[in-house]
Amino acid sequence: MQAFTKLTGIAAPLPKANVDTDQIIPARFLKSISRTGFGKNLFANFRYREDGSENPDFVLNQEPYRKAEILIAFENFGCGSSREHAPWALLDFGIRCVIAPDFADIFHNNSFKNGVLPVRLPREVCEQLMEDARMGGNARLTVDLEREVVVRPNGEEIPFKIDPLRRHLLLNGLDDIGQTLQHASAIDAYEAKRKASQPWLAGG
């Protein structure tokens, strides 16, 4: 996983609540067996018209947002299906950070595991950032995970909080399987105990 430390880039405004994972990447594009290549179908139902041509009204089809690295949205971002293809599609498009008032649980989890940083900030702050984002290329935002601040184009710093373990893994680009396997003996001990107390689970 690619580490996330500090990112300065163009932020795309997506002033919508309840952006679900079916919108982020519709089910018909989930058939790939790799983790890459989903970026072209990110938000496909908004980005393309029925005949397959680009919809010029959608933010990610406009300059400079084609190169957006940050996305600003409203409440309950990432609700719906558990598909990890959602952060994969964001990442593959180039978006490494989503800022919203809150996130659906599974999406929130999945993002961290793929080096996409979900930042929770109050609605009023998201509205301000949305305005910043509308200014396009002249208004880059900085997201600094080390210091846990978002820096607005006017230099104002907005603090945010990330769970310490997740922050550590993300800053260092660590895989949590490796981390967990350090506890292998505790898992062995748990399994031995469980076999004795719940023998009906032993076979499966």
Binding site: K31, S32, E84, A104, D105, D163, D176, Q198, W200
Partner: protein, 476 residues
Amino acid sequence: MSGQKPRTLFDKIWDAHVVETLPDGTALLYIDLHLTHEVTTPQAFDGLRQAGRKVRRPEATLAVIDHNIATDASRYTGIEDPESRVQVETLERNVQEFGVPFIPLLDQRQGIVHVIGPELGRSLPGMTIVCGDSHTSTHGAMGALAFGIGTSEVEHVLATQTLLQKPARNMQVLVEGNLALGCTAKDIVLAIIGKIGTAGGTGHVIEFAGDAIRALDMAGRMTVCNMSIEGGARAGMVAPDQTTYDYVRTRPMAPKGEALERAIEYWKTLPTDAGAHFDKVVKLAAHEIAPQVTWGTSPEDVLPITGIVPNPEEAADEARREQMRRKMQYMGLQPGQRLQDLKVDVVFVGSCTNSRIEDIRAAAAVARGRKVAEGVRAMVVPGSGLVKAQAEEEGLDRILQEAGFEWREAGCSMCLGMNPDKLTPGQRCASTSNRNFEGRQGPGGRTHLLSPAMAAAAAIAGHLADVRDFQPQQAQ
């Protein structure tokens, strides 16, 4: 144990599965059962391969194909869509390479992962159950802690049989009293989501309780738990009771004999203690719930079937007004229209929410002796091969086909637009599935969520209809 703090069902299952607690409070949680399917696993197995890791407990894992297969006879002649075929073949190769138990496509036990887990007796009370699919919450009906995970977590469970998890908060949804005629578990859960909203359960595990929940059979409890995720909850659960034990007793892969008796003794210790703390409590009166149907593009956009399409201009603020206008436009609705006047093109009875034998019986009871309206395509897709066989033994397939319904093979089918069963743009569908998001059943498709009996009523009427107007008829 005396002196111990009263605990909820969730607390008890959680505590029993903590392998270790890390300094920041994150738990390494042991996973008893890992269900897998073709869509969310290829990248996970690939990750294992690249790291040279094995599946830690293949016997605690079960794989099945359900999402992207056809549900007509074409499944017997191979999968047409090349990408779907690759995904299915990849799973077949992976289960072989890693020694994971697998139910092949043409096995009679094949079906939607959330239908077959309980049906086969693999999902049991007291377990932690995960699957790379948000509707894993379904298995909570068994009195288990069951939740959906992403593909990285699938890989984590395959490799370690554990997950890193922060404890959730406890929420109780109490449904008291008796359900009115024509109302079902689906109406209960839609009413709950209407009340709490799609983010109402975020960060929580919901325990559904109250005598209206106790009175539900296992299929009904599964329907309710299935849609917990639509209320934003991490998981939903119902405490195990005699209904649960009687169900488990008849399941082929469940423990038997003395092992089962010992298990039941343990399961009886699981229900929430008197006085246990819930961070949030929501109450509903069952008799106030009328047959429900969604009008918008989020499961919380739900109304009684007697309702009318709301007026966006009456919404509280401009953001909400704008959102509602967008929903109306997408759904092709006018404010003030009667829901019962909305003509449907397609009716879908199926999905992990409502494809069990009880659901098919409910649809057939309405369809018996009646005909699907002209111009409506109506389909019934059983949740598993075993459900299908049972329905055929009961003659339900005949009743449904005589009424003009298509009778299909088991799978996810029209619940999501990734297999050949899809809506075309603008089509309006009465669907027993769980999500009415834009494009969920196919680009441009318009979904109205409702119960199986309500879906059958819509098929007969040709428009959304009140099932209470459809008294059962005898076969002609």
